[in-house]
Symmetry: C5
Subunit: 325 residues, 5 copies
């Protein structure tokens, strides 16, 4: 039974015992204790056993088995079911790995179910156990602690994306544009949209936790959820700002491509004129008319040559001044 990461009973904010799944029943009968269970990609049999121990709803258990849920909070008459998405930057592939964590919260238990890529919550549990005066507030506080750590993991991800945006800005405004830059803009947009989908439902979930669900989240735990709410809002705002900047960046990129196109056209036109004029003049004196007086002048050739290249130099200066070259 490797998928049970941790299962312990707490009393007055202190861990009193490690519990086995089938002994949970006994703990739940103790008036001042609560159980904190941590699962990782559990099998359906284990989830059924958990359902049985805590008396959970069929639908919530079904959801907890499958990953790829939307973040949501559902109330069942004596418990809450919460789905959150976790995010981590994959350092190798430079993209976000999403995972999911599901929670069952009752008056004297909390069960967390991790799916996919996410850090273990062992650290969070340890930090909680170091502040028994807070953990004493009950499973609601444990929920806050894990949610807080999940939301905090979003900040480095957003920072990374903002760094990428700054790199893109640098490329757009100070290097040559390339197909890669455009493709990069597109993929950054894609990741921001995915992140947005993971984060934006969090705002509503926290809002409801800190306002509506009175019995399971005690009065003095609610201000803590305001903190998570606030962080969700900030991440959301950062993502929105990045999205709007990205749209502007794409347009600015486009604008710069056009400016460059313009410059290419002007330079080409300028040089074409500078090459075209001697060609034209040379053509004229290449005609085979019997009577072209200049052809017989002794200094005809150098004069024409000087005149021709004088014209070229004149054109060059003219174009240089008007910004065409």
């Amino acid at each position: 039974m490797e998928s049970i990461v941790n299962c312990a009973a707490y009393s007055d904010g202190r861990r009193v015992a490690n519990v086995k799944l089938d002994e949970i029943n006994l703990v739940l009968k103790q008036p001042d204790q609560f159980v904190w269970v941590g699962l990782h990609e559990p099998s359906s049999e284990m989830l059924n056993q958990v359902q049985h121990e805590f008396g959970l709803h069929d639908l919530a258990i079904e959801d907890a088995l499958r990953a790829h849920q939307r973040p949501k909070l559902e109330t069942y008459h004596d418990s809450l079911f919460i789905v959150l998405r976790t995010a981590q930057m994959n350092p190798e592939h430079h993209r976000i790995d999403f995972g999911e964590t599901h929670f069952f919260l009752g008056s004297n238990f909390i069960v967390s179910v991790r799916h996919g890529s996410s850090l273990s919550y062992a650290d969070v549990r340890m930090r909680c156990e170091k502040t028994p005066h807070l953990l004493r507030k009950g499973p609601g506080f444990a929920l806050y602690a894990v949610m807080d750590s999940i939301v905090d993991q979003y900040f480095p991800v957003v920072d990374e994306l903002e760094n990428e945006l700054e790199l893109l800005e640098e490329k757009i405004f100070h290097e040559k544009f390339s197909r890669e830059t455009t493709e990069h803009i597109y993929h950054l947009k894609r990741e921001l949209l995915e992140l947005k989908r993971a984060v934006s439902p969090l705002i509503d979930i926290c809002n409801r936790l800190m306002r509506f669900d009175f019995e399971l989240i005690p009065e003095d735990t609610r201000p803590y959820f305001r903190d998570v709410y606030d962080h969700s809002l900030r991440i959301n705002e950062m993502v929105d700002t990045a999205r709007e900047l990205l749209t502007t960046a794409l347009e600015a990129n486009f604008s710069l491509i056009s400016i460059s196109q313009n410059e290419v056209s002007k330079r080409f036109a300028g040089w074409a004129a500078i090459i075209g004029v001697p060609t034209m003049i040379a053509g004229i004196y290449g005609m085979n008319f019997k009577f072209i007086p200049e052809l017989n002048w002794h200094y005809g050739y150098p004069i024409v040559l000087a005149f021709t290249f004088g014209t070229c130099i004149f054109l060059y200066i003219l174009f240089k001044r008007s910004g065409w070259l």
Copy 2:
């Protein structure tokens, strides 16, 4: 009477009898039974008979006759009328086929009316009959079962559209752009808008089913509608994300066309210069002046030729380095 697909009476979650339309009256008088009728593109006479048996409202019957309704939920004083749109990917023409299903729901009956392209609900009914402890909850649960299957049919459609989007991305960023890609983007946008119109009213319908209409949907059936609600939200979000990505893809496509235009201009300019320079020099030595000393040099021709092509090679290297070729 082919358009009656199925008509049965249920008691305590089990099918107790197949019923004819004109015997429904008798069943409805039994306190613990409900009737589940499945119709497929019924004639107006049949609908009138159904109206008579269940005491339905004129307007709802009128609506049930015509397809091309918006998804909606309407309450009549003792029954609900629901219109949903169904979607299936047409494998041949690569476009979405939409159908419609209408429901009449009363305290002891449910009538489903299918229009256009949609799968039969025989499978759903069979699955329900296998879980009598759930079907026992009444016609509200039957409604859930069919709605759930309708919404689940949207997922493969959305997946297919997301695949098409990925194919488009591949084409945009890694192949040459073409008129077909642009047209494809446009048609994908069109389909997403149609899908959006079919799905987005579902959110409101589910929301109302799980919150407001107390009598027809019993308390313990409502959490099931949250499931459908959740799926509708997810499909909606997927469509919105795809739409925003498509808009960005169109812009990125456009940006890449401009970059390519730029490259074409640069290469053309570069080669024009490389061809233009020998033409100019050759023109000069093609002039018919009597006194052009170089013409009489013994090695004039090879020297000029060497100089000319040296210049060309120099230009070639110059342009290559500055990225114009």
Copy 3:
């Protein structure tokens, strides 16, 4: 008094008498009768008389005189004043002709005032008179009947605009783009915005009619307004979808113009190279150097010609393969 199109008293859903304006008073005293008056661009005197007979508010009468109102619903303490906009496709000029219809609704009267382009409501009245069991519900039902016919007239207009959009798509993706197509897109956008302005307030009006105004619209008439509400929503959605598609079409059109520009540049560059190479070679053998050995070869001319055009053919094949020609 031509602007009175029709004025009749109804009892139990049946027309009992044609009434003159100054006899209305008598009818209104009958407990079970109501009056239905149809006016068409009435003079201010006639409206004053109507005001006097039914006891209407100054402001409503002022509004009813002037056309060019927004669609709106206003409640006065014992009557409703409703402004709707009507739309018809002008077959000659291919644009929408808008008209207006104003309603005064009391507990025992309904007055309709038509302005500008709109069909007469004689047909609607006739259809109502054929269903006395419905018209018996009172002037609220008459209001529904006329509103329903007004909203139904929007469908052919929207269909026509959708046809125009499809024609535009055909032009954009399968014909050459032209200034006319762009202008057409712009004018279609203009018409959709005007249509939107006419239709979108309808949703709110219907919503209020089916929910808030309890006394004048009897309980059993309200479901009928849901029908009008639903149609308004559908027209609104169709207009919104068409607008979004039009925006995408403009962008796609633009994208195609750029692709074409790109193709033009490539083909020009290709042919310029194919023409430029023989010109350059011919230029070289046109030089007047004394010692150009090739010039004296017997087969110099055909060899150079063959080499030159061989190069041209090689370039042609090269460009053809890489898609530049």
Copy 4:
């Protein structure tokens, strides 16, 4: 004391006396009278006196001194303070001149304070005095009369901007595009945004006047504010439509520039080919090979000339047909 434009006492809808500022006290004590004061850019001393006479709040007086407020409605416990922006088309500079009017409204007084460019309200007052049966309703009606006249002044402004938009359309679709057109579009957008900022708060102000503030606006005056509300909505809609059309116009303009660019490229390419071919052929027969048989033919020159220009004519027809010329 020039900044007092008018100050009069009204009883039963009729002007009973012109009042001096320090006599207002006496009038306010009369049970059935109200005072209507009109100020124009008053000094801070005069405003202090007005404050003293009517017992107004410090903050409202501070606001009334400074122009450049947002339109707003503020309730103080026995009075209202309203800020509106007025707009007039400046015929010389073709731009909108904005002004401001502030109102203090009490149960028996109304004070209007005009700032900047705006018409005097003497006309409004005169029209009110001609309808004593309406003015009898009290200072709330006077407020309506002035607000109505302010909002009515927006219509010619919006009409002027719509005319400018139509002129722009004419220029975009039927004349050559120019830098001026683009600049004009931008400045029209700027003015529409400013107008929007002035008008859109009006909707909320009217909405509150006609719904919430029960004591100062008597029941029978409220329908009049619905009229102002309606006009604000219409102006707002007109501005929004113009904005959206302007955005589309900018895009259409852009699209047309690209089409034109395309045509220029095609025509250039066509003519370059038509000029390039004879140049190439002439170059070939300009080569100095000893043995070019054609050069010795008697009709070589006219034959080559005829062939060359035949090719040119062929190319011309070819390009003309395929739309390149």
Copy 5:
């Protein structure tokens, strides 16, 4: 203890004593006094002492230690915690420096905590002490005074950004476009988005201060917060308008680049034709046919020359008229 900028007790609107942190306890016991403490980047020890003196919540103290919060208002059962962002234009680097100020507000105390770049509030305090009849209203008024001064500091920032926008307009419409202009537009957009994030939460904060929190903000202080609310709205509107104008400016800039590109193409095409025609004619008379009668004419050369340059002049006039040159 340098981070305590000021700490004083007030009674009846007058400063009665400067207080040390550990004496605050005594003051708080006095019924008619309140304490106003100003801190600047306090250490965590000092904050803990402040927490102890005023009995503040752990979470609020944690937030007050860290900068980089979102502007927010949080209610704890007997105190308020408010976070605001301050903004100042950095004159050297031409960008906005953001700071933060946090407030703790109780019934008889107010603590302000400044972080990062922001002006001291000594001036505000002085101005308050000069109007004891206002400061007498309690710590709520002190809060208003500081918030008002914070919001007023946004106006010069917005003015500066609007000036930059006008400079950009000048550059876009009257100078040559450049990469710098595009980059400038992008960076202005970035700053507007940051400003928006700092200002927009203010609207909601002020709204709540003037409506909901009854006990800490006395009735007669609330109108003052309406003033701050109003200013926040105005700044917000100015930022939104600037953003929309900036988007339009980017598009207009782009449009002008295309117009310029068009002009370049046309001028190039025109001059290419004017140079190409003599080159072609000269080529023809440079052919080496034995029998070209014109070559032997005595005036052949001047006639051809005249004809050629006549054609050039004709083309020049033609192109000049049609706007290509």
